[in-house]
């Protein structure tokens, strides 16, 4: 029986996801609970578990395709259970198929029925090429077959150590280690080619002096998202220094008394407040560029992502509808979500759906940085460290508290002048806290 697996509603508000990686191939046997694909939603990449045990007979999307909740994306034959005979079945049928093709080539005219329930049309070149090499059946144990698949080992190339050359679990483990070593060698060779310095070549070749660490899932996601952003969006960055001396004094005045109420009043809530005020006037900064339809998608909500440094890597918890919160509420919220992110207590719903992101690298120590846009947003605000500096005011050198801001934005949809205007408006608000309170 065919089971059409619809992309499930994996959490509040997620309507679609992008398939970043298929974890099964057509023909694979899967068990209930086995992940079928890695799907990236707004902010997190999550594995989608199969609700059924059976054989994957069709994958209805390719890597990178967007699927919506309710879309059938995998078809599973649930009549067959999680058996390990499947690869043989598959290969047998393929052998049949191949023979038929040869007959056709030889000019046999007539009906050749080659359909098989087991075999699904495969669009993926990868599985095609794999299947072709699998024409002859390899003697292997069930566990060895599955392990080979999972470790990406071509079982046909493995010399079996079992009776009659049967490929055993151990052989696959050994082969996968060899592959890793080979891959490492290739990387080293490539590096050597591009390295002119002979001495440097020597140090690279010394395996023991390098360490290879596999990326964690979060790191992979960060890496993919950063690449996607930087290679898709032509970034440009505007920077400016803001004299926030008044704001500094203002904050100082209330900071301690609020502390008694356990509110940690930082500059961040003011910056968020000012940003939202500007976003309302310049909606292109709170938008997404829909490349496929050449449309600008303006967002009428203000979900502000706060880039947060955690042990596991960068995370961006989101303050939803931040425009509806007061300065003090924002102060509380900022503290809450960043703590949750740091303590790994953040929920999926708090990591998705931001419309604009703020990154406060100054909290760690930088003055200026060039932030990378949190794709698919259109802009990101970088906040540097506030320092006291001498400035010239009314022809005199005076002390002032300076806040450096850097704004990266999607240059496809936002011109340089708009970037400068954005920062000017930020300046107006943050340099005059009263104005900020009135306007924001």
């Amino acid at each position: 029986m065919k089971f059409e697996f619809q992309f499930p509603d994996i959490g509040e508000g997620i309507h679609e996801g992008v398939i970043t990686k298929w974890l099964v191939k057509e023909g694979d046997m899967i068990k209930e609970g086995d992940s079928v694909a890695e799907v990236e939603t707004d902010k997190v990449t999550t594995e989608i578990p199969s609700p059924k045990t059976g054989k994957v007979i069709e994958l209805r999307a390719s890597n990178g395709d967007t699927i919506h909740v309710g879309d059938v994306f995998v078809v599973i034959d649930i009549q067959e259970n999680a058996e390990d005979v499947s690869p043989e079945d598959k290969k047998d049928t393929l052998t049949e198929k191949k023979e038929i093709v040869e007959e056709e080539n030889a000019g046999v005219v007539g009906e050749v029925i080659s359909s098989s329930e087991v075999i699904a049309p495969s669009d993926e070149n990868k599985s095609d090429s794999e299947d072709k090499s699998n024409v002859s059946k390899v003697l292997a144990t069930p566990v060895a077959r599955k392990l080979a698949k999972d470790l990406g080992v071509d079982i046909n190339k493995v010399v079996g150590s079992g009776p009659s050359g049967r490929v055993m679990k151990e052989d696959i483990i050994k082969a996968s280690k060899e592959i890793t070593v080979e891959k490492q060698k290739v990387v080293l060779d490539e590096t050597l080619k591009t390295t002119a310095d002979l001495k440097q070549e020597k140090t690279i070749i010394e395996d023991e002096r390098i360490e290879r660490i596999p990326l964690t899932k979060i790191r992979k996601t960060i890496s993919e998202k950063m690449t996607q952003s930087k290679f898709t969006i032509p970034h440009t960055t505007a920077m400016d220094e803001l004299d926030v001396t008044e704001l500094y004094e203002f904050r100082k005045k209330y900071k301690d008394s609020l502390k008694e109420e356990e509110i940690n009043l930082t500059f961040m809530p003011f910056i968020i407040k000012a940003t939202i005020s500007v976003l309302k006037k310049m909606p292109e900064f709170n938008s997404t560029f829909d490349e496929e339809n050449d449309e600008l998608v303006l967002k009428k909500f203000y979900h502000i992502g706060i880039a947060t440094d955690t042990d596991r890597g960068l995370m961006v918890p989101v303050i939803r509808d931040a425009d509806r919160l007061s300065i003090i509420e924002l102060a509380r919220k900022v503290e809450e979500i960043s703590n949750n992110a740091k303590n790994n207590q953040i929920e999926l719903k708090d990591l998705k759906g931001s419309s604009f992101t703020i990154t406060n690298y100054g909290s760690i120590g930088g003055y200026y940085g060039i932030p990378i846009i949190n794709y698919p947003e259109s802009a990101i605000l970088g906040v540097g460290r506030i320092v006291q500096k001498p400035i010239i005011k009314d022809n005199e050198i005076v002390k002032a508290w300076i806040l450096p801001l850097s704004l990266s934005y999607d240059h496809r949809i936002i011109d340089g002048a708009s970037g400068a205007r954005f920062l000017n408006m930020m300046k107006d608000l943050l340099e005059n806290p009263e104005m900020l309170l009135l306007k924001a």
């Binding site: 068990k31 259970n81 999680a82 390990d84 144990t141 069930p142 566990v143 392990l147 150590s161 049967r166």
Partner: protein, 460 residues
């Protein structure tokens, strides 16, 4: 001086199989045996014990023939003629031993009957004759271990204490038996004597009667033995063995036991005489150290069977013989002790392969477990032998690969082979759950246990 490709020292189940296999692989082979071909197993071990147990089972069946609707048997008149039983057993043993002589002839294996003394790493002396060899397979087996318990040695000398060899020479029926120790033989002889009507008491140091088996099996057997009337004295320290009594400390209390004979089983120690000239690496109990190909530290010398102490069982010795021969002949093969079944021929039988649940825990394996009681199996019911169960363990992180099968029940010895087959093919619990078994058979319980490990059995 004769020259052989391979000399096998010892003609037990390890040695004689190694010789036949080597000969089949084209080698010129000689076996040196000081006593009888077939070794302990055929002459004083597996075969005679199981023969006697099988007779005892018949006796038990006769006693309960009313259960099967068979009348006319006067239980008072039915008795065991131990002398005839032993003679019958000898017939079986002799037939099997002569079978090996025939196999040697057929396969062109030369037999030297005499004590073999290794001169160096390429020469051995038998009855004054020198045989040179390229490879030596040591298959000298083991002997009973007699621990240093006060008076035990003397008891053996007086004939009050006996082990398997002594038992098989007995012509009289014993009324009372003390079994000291708790290995497989101890349990089997306790079972035998209990079944033929003797009063049996087992005294042992451990908590469980079979510490090497999954504790659930051991506990179930303990209950069954007690039900049959065997007295179990566990956690016991034997203080002194005297011909008139055995003094035992149990929970700081001194107890005394007496019986017609003391049957003593405290494991084994290797037979190393004749190979003193070879500088072999041994473990603390003297067993020759070998690897998965049965190689010793000396390049051309292999050691198989009880003498390496790995798993002192006849079928292990035989298989080790095959592996050693193959490796000598250039065939790359090895043994995996986790895929070898072991059996206790108690009533009911116990069989086991792979990891016990406790071992799986120690190894941090993420396992799933399936169980099925024989009381829910139709064959067990129709035979009226429903005590026992099947327990199966699978590695969840390795696609459900079966890592252990443990059975207690009538005919467990035959059922375990299924686990051995599947495990050697690295089969999974999902594979096994989908294998159709004939009905009614006891092996259906294995399928049900597999289903239980995955989800739910069908017949309970």
């Amino acid at each position: 001086m004769k020259k052989y490709d391979i000399v096998v020292l010892g003609g037990g189940p390890g040695g004689y199989i190694a010789a036949i296999k080597s000969s089949q692989l084209g080698k010129k082979v000689a076996v040196v045996e000081k006593d009888k071909l077939g070794g302990i197993c055929l002459n004083w071990g597996c075969i005679p014990t199981k023969t006697l147990l099988s007779y005892a089972k018949h006796f038990q069946d006769i006693l309960r023939s009313e259960d099967f609707g068979i009348g006319g048997i006067d239980k008072e008149k039915v008795y065991v003629d131990i002398e005839k039983m032993m003679l019958k057993k000898d017939e079986t043993v002799n037939k099997l031993v002569s079978g090996i002589h025939m196999l040697f002839k057929k396969n062109g294996v030369d037999l030297y009957n005499g004590f073999g003394k290794a001169i160096d790493e390429n020469n051995i002396n038998v009855n004054g004759e020198n045989l040179s060899f390229d490879n030596l397979i040591i298959a000298t087996g083991a002997k009973a271990y007699i621990p240093n318990i006060k008076g035990l040695k003397e008891s053996f000398e007086s004939g009050k204490a006996i082990n398997n060899i002594g038992i098989l020479g007995l012509k009289d029926k014993l009324d009372t038996v003390l079994v000291l120790g708790n290995d497989t033989y101890a349990v089997e002889y306790a079972t035998f004597y209990n079944a033929i009507g003797a009063d049996v008491t087992m005294i042992f140091e451990d908590k469980n009667i079979l510490p090497d088996y999954d504790s659930e099996l051991s506990q179930t057997l303990e209950r069954q033995l007690k039900k049959s009337g065997v007295k179990l004295v566990n956690n016991a320290n034997i203080k002194e063995v005297r011909d008139d009594r055995v003094l035992v400390f149990q929970k700081d209390k001194e107890k005394e036991f007496n019986a017609d004979k003391y049957i003593v089983f405290y494991g084994i120690r290797p037979n190393l005489s004749g190979i003193e000239n070879l500088k072999l690496t041994k473990d603390k109990n003297g067993f020759i150290q070998t690897d998965e190909k049965l190689r010793t530290n000396i390049k051309n010398i292999y050691a198989i069977g009880d003498v390496n102490g790995k798993m002192p069982l006849a079928h292990v010795a035989s298989f080790e013989g095959v592996i050693a021969s193959e490796n000598i002949c250039g065939i790359d093969s090895k043994i995996d002790y986790l895929k070898i079944p072991k059996v206790v021929y108690s009533f009911p039988e116990i069989s086991s392969i792979g990891l016990s649940e406790a071992e799986a825990k120690i190894r941090n394996i993420n396992y799933s477990i399936g169980k099925f009681p024989l009381s829910a199996n139709s064959m067990a019911n129709l035979k009226g032998e429903t005590s026992g169960f099947v327990k199966i363990l699978a590695d969840k992180d390795m696609y459900g690969e079966i890592i252990g099968l443990h059975i207690i029940g009538n005919d467990a010895s035959n059922m375990i082979a299924e686990g051995a087959s599947v495990m050697n093919l690295e089969g999974t619990i999902y594979d096994l759950a989908k294998v159709v078994h004939p009905h009614p058979t006891l092996t259906e319980a294995i399928v049900e246990a597999s289903l239980d490990a995955i989800d739910k059995p069908l017949n309970i």
